[in-house]
């Protein structure tokens, strides 16, 4: 008698386990959005995971990911072991506009501040180098001209040195121009750059704070904040 009862009990346990398995289906969410996304199923926020156990049936589903438009739809879950759910979120238009605005802003800041300063700095670094190069080639030019006049030296040698001097001269004055032009541009464009408005992207996130508690950790002795969010 006892053995019969034990077998019946085991059967019941197995049956209940099987029926429990049929109560929910493993749903793997593949959401194309940013790295994190939140899922709300029938008004309940699901744990932060892309694998969820959901009871079969049709559910209202909302998915939100930062910088993307919240997706609202229906999720029909069949009574199977597991299914996959794919959803591509659409990028927030305001965020796309923000990206364009930010790009434009950065370009303007570069043109109005970075480029003039880099130009002036490059000129300031290069001009002493070119100054000494120019000086050296000028001396060689004077000497070569003298040698050509008195020592019957090669005319092409003097021409070559003169060309090198002209190049060094051009580089030196270009570097000076870079310093002057860069600083002048920086000074002139400073006010314009200051008046530029940095684009801001504010996405109204769908979360609302449901509970908020401030506590005190008894072991570490540090204050603690606890909150729960929903969207």
């Amino acid at each position: 008698m006892k053995r019969t009862s034990l077998v019946f009990l085991l059967f019941c346990l197995l049956f209940s386990a099987a029926s429990l398995a049929q109560d929910s289906t493993k749903v793997r969410f593949y959401v194309k959005g940013s790295a994190d996304f939140w899922i709300k199923l029938d008004g309940e926020l699901l744990p932060l995971s892309n694998v969820q156990m959901i009871t079969p049936g049709t559910h209202d589903i909302e998915i939100w990911s930062p910088m993307y438009v919240k997706h609202t739809g229906k999720l029909t879950v069949p009574a199977e072991d597991s299914i996959s759910y794919y959803q591509e979120l659409k990028k927030d238009k305001a965020y796309i506009a923000y990206l364009f605005d930010m790009d434009s802003y950065r370009r303007k800041v570069f043109l109005g501040r970075t480029a003039p300063l880099v130009t002036a700095l490059a000129g300031a670094v290069a001009s002493p180098i070119f100054y000494f190069g120019r000086k050296s080639w000028h001396e060689k030019t004077v000497k070569e001209d003298f040698k050509f006049e008195y020592f019957s030296s090669n005319a092409s040698g003097a021409d070559n040195v003169r060309t090198r001097y002209q190049t060094a001269n051009a580089l030196f004055f270009t570097s000076l121009g870079m310093v002057a032009g860069g600083l002048a541009s920086y000074g002139l464009l400073q006010r314009w750059v200051k008046n530029l408005e940095k684009p801001i992207y504010r996405q109204s996130n769908p979360f609302t704070v449901e509970t908020f508690e401030i506590g005190y950790h008894p072991v570490t002795g540090t204050p603690q904040v606890g909150l729960s969010l929903n969207f």
Partner: protein, 205 residues
């Protein structure tokens, strides 16, 4: 803009820190011809020098090694350049070149000789009536220039003094001189019997 000021100042300092060179020549009006010379300048604050002689010979050096072959009126333009040759100063110096000629012989001391003679490469110069006591203020003279033009050759050579007594010449002393380096004026020679012989040289006027 404040950051630019030190940079501009640095560039200004770089450009203006070169000192102004000064070209200078402090030569005599006449320079010896026929001998190897090493001509120098008294220029200051320069990096290099150029020399342009009126005979179309140029030098790009501190010291000019030259031999003037002839006697003539010349000039040299010396240009002193700063480092980089952006600044320069020049001086034009007229001069004449001349050989060295024996001008005269002066003898001081007590002489028992009827004549005294100076012998050297290029000629012998005899002076008569050499007996007597000669002092610094009233020496015995044997004039050479301008009647006789004897060039002191730029080489190692002997000069000797002879005294004449009873129709024969007696060597009173000699000296070997390298005239390429010896430029003293007068050349002094002490004889064996205490006569001090000074040989003067001169440039052509």
């Amino acid at each position: 803009m404040q950051r630019a000021i030190p940079i501009l100042l640095l560039l200004l300092v770089l450009v203006s820190c070169e000192p102004q060179p000064k070209a200078c020549l402090d030569w005599e009006d006449t320079i010896e011809a026929g001998t190897q010379l090493h001509l120098e300048s008294c220029s200051e604050d320069y990096d290099f020098l150029t020399w342009e002689f009126s005979d179309d010979i140029g030098y790009l050096s501190e010291v000019v090694p030259r031999i003037f072959e002839d006697e003539e009126n010349m000039s040299v333009k010396l240009t002193a350049y700063s480092d980089g040759a952006y600044r320069s100063d020049e001086v034009i110096f007229p001069f004449k070149t001349s050989f060295r000629y024996i001008d005269r012989m002066e003898v001081v001391g007590e002489s028992n000789y009827s004549a005294l003679e100076l012998r050297m490469s290029g000629g012998a110069f005899l002076g008569g009536d050499a007996k007597g006591t000669f002092t610094e203020s009233a020496p015995y003279f044997v004039y050479v220039w301008p009647e006789t033009k004897v060039v002191i050759e730029s080489k190692r050579s002997d000069i000797a003094v002879f005294g004449y007594k009873n129709g024969s010449d007696i060597s009173l002393g000699s000296k070997t001189i390298n005239f390429e380096t010896y430029k003293e004026n007068p050349m002094v020679l002490e004889t064996t019997d205490g006569l001090s012989v000074k040989v003067y040289w001169t440039y052509r006027d």
